[in-house]
């Protein structure tokens, strides 16, 4: 990661990208917010920021409204999963929160629509079942609900979801 001096010499156009990325990363992770509140220098370890950008982000994370940003982020991402996988969410119980936090560490893309989010979360949890982190008792429920979502996806994106796995 470049030094603060190098950061101030960056071409004009590059600057805003780092600030925007940092702001959205913080919104996606209340854990990162807590870390930056305690250790603001963490921002320079992760991002190429000017002094002004750093001051701005430190001010932002220390506002009460940052909690609201994080809550809304999680609520918006939770919606597709709870709506499409209600029984799986119920079955995962106390594991659900930590699984979601880990799952949401990956970038959230425009292609991660309502059904894709739910489908991909199922694959993620199945990976955790394979490695023994999550109990196999969830598997049947997960696969049943994933198949329903898969069928819906197969109608719009048969090239990717039209395989045998998604036939009921």
């Amino acid at each position: 990661m470049s030094s603060p001096i190098a950061a101030r010499r960056r071409p004009f156009r590059v600057m805003r990208e780092q600030f925007q990325r940092a702001f959205s990363d913080l919104t996606a992770s209340s854990e990162l917010v807590k870390q930056v509140r305690k250790h603001p220098d963490l921002l320079d370890e992760r991002y190429d920021l000017t002094d002004l950008e750093r001051r701005r982000l430190i001010a932002i994370v220390n506002q009460q409204g940052m909690e609201c940003n994080c809550i809304l982020y999680r609520a918006n991402r939770l919606g597709p999963i709870v709506t499409n996988l209600p029984d799986s969410c119920n079955a995962l119980q106390k594991d659900l929160r930590s699984l979601l936090s880990e799952y949401w560490a990956r970038p959230f893309q425009i292609s991660d629509n309502f059904w894709v989010e739910a489908y991909n979360f199922c694959d993620f949890v199945k990976g955790k079942i394979k490695t023994g982190i999550v109990s196999t008792t969830v598997l049947d429920t997960l696969e049943r609900e994933q198949a329903v979502v898969g069928q819906l996806l197969a109608q719009i994106y048969p090239e990717k979801y039209g395989g045998e796995d998604n036939k009921l």
Partner: protein
């Protein structure tokens, strides 16, 4: 005293709007359509067609807009984000704009997408505020001109709900929007509920904000209601508009000389709570406001 054209009154389209039209269609002479709700966007690196239309939804929308004024209300371009303009998405919107005959197109003055090294089109997960300075202005200016050229109709930008204020800005939001209007013709979609949310979080003086924006720049007003999520008031589109919004609307809307529409936004998941009757009453009140805008034009900065 001059008269302004009477603004249209309508709704932001969602799948329950046809039920409202069945019962109270005469109160709705305008619909705003979110293009991104009419297709699945499979992303830039998809195999085959990126945008897959939802034909059933499109058919219902086409029936709903017949005989009504229509605009587009986009959520996918994320104009203030420091990434290149999504030309493929703009082309898709252009086709819809032509098909449905958008009179204008609105987007947001907030960031929905975020620059990310590992993912094109990474989402921020919610609408985040942006820095109001020369750099953001130039990012927006070039994209606004490109969108204008592509769509061939006026573009306006909506103010967002701000939960965390960005300090040490070069401009206030009204100054930024006013300058964008002066230099590009890009107008304002004044979301009074977003302003209310921002004020509830103590990030704006709403009266100062409303007195600073250029009255000629406002083409559309949004009205909506919200509620609390874990102690924070949000723009959930879950309620009817509250009295502070009406107070602002009656005070300032007659000054907006180019105002074309007053729009109520609600999320379909709250349709049963709001009821058709409640939405109809909201529309009736919006018509009273529209009448006031048409008959009592106030000179600018009065």
């Amino acid at each position: 005293m001059s008269e302004n054209a009477r603004p249209y009154v309508g709704l932001l389209y969602n799948p329950t709007v046809p039920s409202v039209l069945d019962h109270a269609g005469s109160l709705v002479n305008y619909l705003a359509i979110v293009p991104e709700r009419l297709w699945f966007d499979l992303g830039r690196d998809t195999v085959g067609r990126r945008f897959r239309p939802i034909d059933d939804e499109i058919d219902v929308v086409k029936r709903s807009v017949e005989g009504r004024i229509v605009s587009g209300h986009g959520v996918g371009l994320s104009l203030p984000t420091e990434t290149s303009l999504d030309v493929e998405l703009l082309e898709e919107i252009e086709v819809l704009a032509s098909d449905l005959r958008f009179e204008w197109f609105s987007e947001h003055l907030t960031m929905f997408l975020t620059p990310h090294a590992d993912a094109q089109g990474a989402q921020a997960g919610l609408a985040l505020p942006v820095v109001y300075d020369e750099e953001t202005f130039q990012i927006l200016r070039s994209k606004v001109l490109a969108v204008n050229a592509a769509l061939g109709c006026p573009l306006i930008l909506e103010n967002g709900s701000i939960f965390t204020a960005i300090p040490e800005m070069e401009m206030t939001e009204p100054e930024f929007l006013n300058r964008l209007y002066r230099e590009t013709g890009c107008g304002i979609l004044l979301d009074l509920h977003n302003l209310y949310v921002t004020a509830r979080h103590k990030n704006v003086d709403p009266e100062q904000y409303l007195s600073e924006i250029d009255p000629a720049a406002v083409l559309e007003i949004h009205m909506a209601g919200g509620d609390e999520l874990m102690g924070f008031y949000t723009d959930s589109h879950s309620r009817l508009a509250s009295e502070p919004l009406w107070s602002w609307a009656y005070e300032y809307a007659p000054r907006f000389t180019q105002l074309r529409a007053i729009t109520f936004e609600y999320h379909e998941s709250y349709f049963e709570l709001l009821e058709v009757g409640g939405i109809a009453k909201q529309l009736e009140r919006m018509h009273e406001l529209a009448d006031r805008c048409a008959t009592k034009a106030v000179p600018s900065y009065a």
